[in-house]
């Protein structure tokens, strides 16, 4: 009430905040509905399979490439820093911890956000502006059940798997540099990498992609389904989806890391 009482400026602030609060509310409604649809039919198994193929298999080459080079780069950078303490043989543990805990999940999520949040937003956005979503509702199908839930399920299954692959390929990339350029033995590298990882790291490394998957798929669908204003609107929705999904990936990884660091 104080805000209201302070007059014009307060009212303007409220006007400014209203759309933001309204869209957060809409996002919650969409998330709630798509999660509720997990427990009620009909389930569009075909659509889930197609989306798994698009999101999972489709992202595989780029995830492998990026995973390999991130392991490669971390090892090169870290070996230089570690050389000052004469601890280059520990490079495996650093690569393992950085990749499994943080970089593997975040890089994979960012790639999938760029590839699939945009893809989802533009596909649903185009369907929105060409009245296909209205047609779907008119013909007795819930667009959330048919479009959103399959994309959410597919992303939640595929992103953790992609992350595991990225982590593993990253470790191989690190090993390539450690063996060829730094001159570590195979045993030195892999033992230090293996011993560095605790149960906690694995849980953290798998929880993150799972949460990211919810955010990426739902943000993509959310902006897609809010598209108005023709093809220009589709472009705008796509951009917004990628930006929002990427920002949320960073916010959430910080939150989860904070929780897990305190667990020790």
């Amino acid at each position: 009430m104080d805000v209201l009482a302070s007059g014009n400026a307060g009212a303007r602030l409220l006007d400014f905040l209203k759309p933001a609060v309204a869209s957060i509310q809409d996002f919650y409604v969409l998330s709630g509905r798509s999660i509720r649809n997990l427990f009620r039919g009909p389930h569009y198994v075909d659509d889930i399979a197609i989306q798994m193929d698009v999101i999972g298999v489709g992202s595989l080459p780029i995830v492998i490439l990026i995973g390999f080079f991130s392991g490669f780069v971390i090892t090169m950078q870290m070996s230089r820093a570690l050389a000052q303490y004469g601890a280059t043989d520990q490079v495996g543990s650093i690569v393992a911890i950085t990749l499994v805990r943080e970089l593997g999940p975040v890089l994979t999520a960012l790639l999938v956000a760029g590839r699939n949040a945009s893809g989802i937003a533009s596909e649903l956005g185009s369907m929105m502006v060409t009245e296909q979503i209205d047609a779907m509702r008119a013909l007795g199908t819930d667009p959330i059940q048919k479009l959103v839930t399959p994309r959410m399920i597919a992303t939640c299954v595929m992103l953790p798997m992609l992350t595991i692959i990225a982590d593993f390929v990253g470790l191989i990339g690190g090993y390539a540099i450690a063996y060829l350029s730094i001159g570590l033995t195979t045993t030195q590298y892999w033992t230090s990498a293996y011993q560095a990882l605790e149960y906690n790291d694995i849980v953290q490394g798998l929880l993150k992609p799972f949460v990211f998957a919810f955010i990426i798929s739902l943000v993509g669908c959310f902006y897609g389904l809010r598209t108005t204003g023709g093809t220009q609107g589709v472009g705008l929705a796509t951009t917004k989806a990628v930006v929002a999904a990427s920002v949320w990936v960073f916010v959430i990884t910080s939150l989860i890391t904070r929780v897990f660091v305190n667990l020790h």
């Binding site: 296909q132 209205d134 013909l139 007795g140």
Partner: protein, 284 residues
């Protein structure tokens, strides 16, 4: 402005009772009331942004009104949940402005969609096939079964849209600008199909359009089942009396969400209102 009484003995399929609706500050519908029975045709004319499409979407609950009531098949739909609406909507065929076809699936799957996805007794693609073929034969596009909507021309897409709208033989069909963006010849083909659908299945029609000729065709022509052609609606009963309305076609003109005119073609042509006159070509 009293609603013209529909001949008795006809069930009211769609009724708007004082429906108002706004988008933010813009009034989309303002106290709209009318009703529609089997075999009736209602042609809604109006400038762009006058609330025509909103009216059509509100009729099947895609948009909810702020006040007033909408009855679809004698059931009030304004308070229903989306899941409850699915069943009721299966009795309505809709042609969307751009066809609204799903571009990720073939023409066959598009036309079969209403049969495959209805809440009661959904069919399989095999079961639906004869009906799909019949609907496509109706719009003379059987050969496009395996094609994707993107491979078709605008007029063909519109015809596939009609096939999808009528494949489940709904008693009520809504057409949103069926001829928008089409050349006059294709537009006439589309309208002829709509007349054919009305007269062979006795459906109720709500047609939203900007073209006066569309309404004129609906009002003055009938489909002759034996000859398979359109012919002027004969005035044999009334002897061609002025104001007779053999096709039970009512025109409705909308302006800024309000119904500013409602009546027969004859009354429309006789109207002195400047806005209403904009939709009637100057001749006669």
């Amino acid at each position: 402005m009293s609603a013209p009484a529909s001949p008795s003995g006809h069930e009211c399929l769609l009724r708007f009772d004082n429906v108002s609706l706004r988008f933010e500050e813009i009034v989309a519908l303002d106290s709209v009331s009318f009703d529609l029975s089997a075999g009736d045709t209602r042609v809604v004319l109006g400038a762009a942004g006058s609330g025509k499409t909103t009216l059509l979407k509100a009729a099947i609950g895609l948009i909810r009104p702020e006040s007033g009531k909408i009855y679809l098949f004698d059931q009030e739909i304004t308070g229903l949940k989306e899941a409850q609406l699915f069943h009721i909507r299966s009795g309505v065929g809709v042609l969307f402005q751009e066809g609204g076809l799903f571009d990720s699936v073939t023409v066959e799957e598009n036309v079969a969609y209403p049969l495959l996805n209805r809440t009661e007794h959904p069919e399989t693609l095999q079961e639906a096939e004869p009906k799909v073929k019949e609907a496509l034969r109706f719009v003379e596009l059987e050969q496009t079964l395996e094609q994707y909507p993107s491979e078709l021309s605008g007029g063909m897409r519109r015809r596939v849209g009609i096939a999808r709208a009528v494949v489940s033989e709904p008693p009520l069909v809504l057409y949103d600008s069926p001829t928008a963006g089409l050349d006059p010849i294709t537009a006439n083909t589309i309208m002829a199909l709509i007349v054919k659908e009305r007269d062979s299945k006795n459906t109720a029609n709500l047609i939203v359009t900007q073209r006066y000729q569309d309404g004129q065709l609906m009002a003055n022509f009938r489909y002759n089942r034996s000859s398979g052609h359109l012919e002027p609606a004969s005035n044999n009963g009334e002897g061609g009396a002025e104001g007779s309305n053999p096709t039970r076609t009512i025109f409705m003109v909308m302006k800024d969400g309000r119904v500013v005119f409602e009546g027969t073609q004859h009354e429309l042509e006789a109207s002195q209102d400047d806005y209403v006159q904009k939709f009637v070509p100057k001749h006669s």
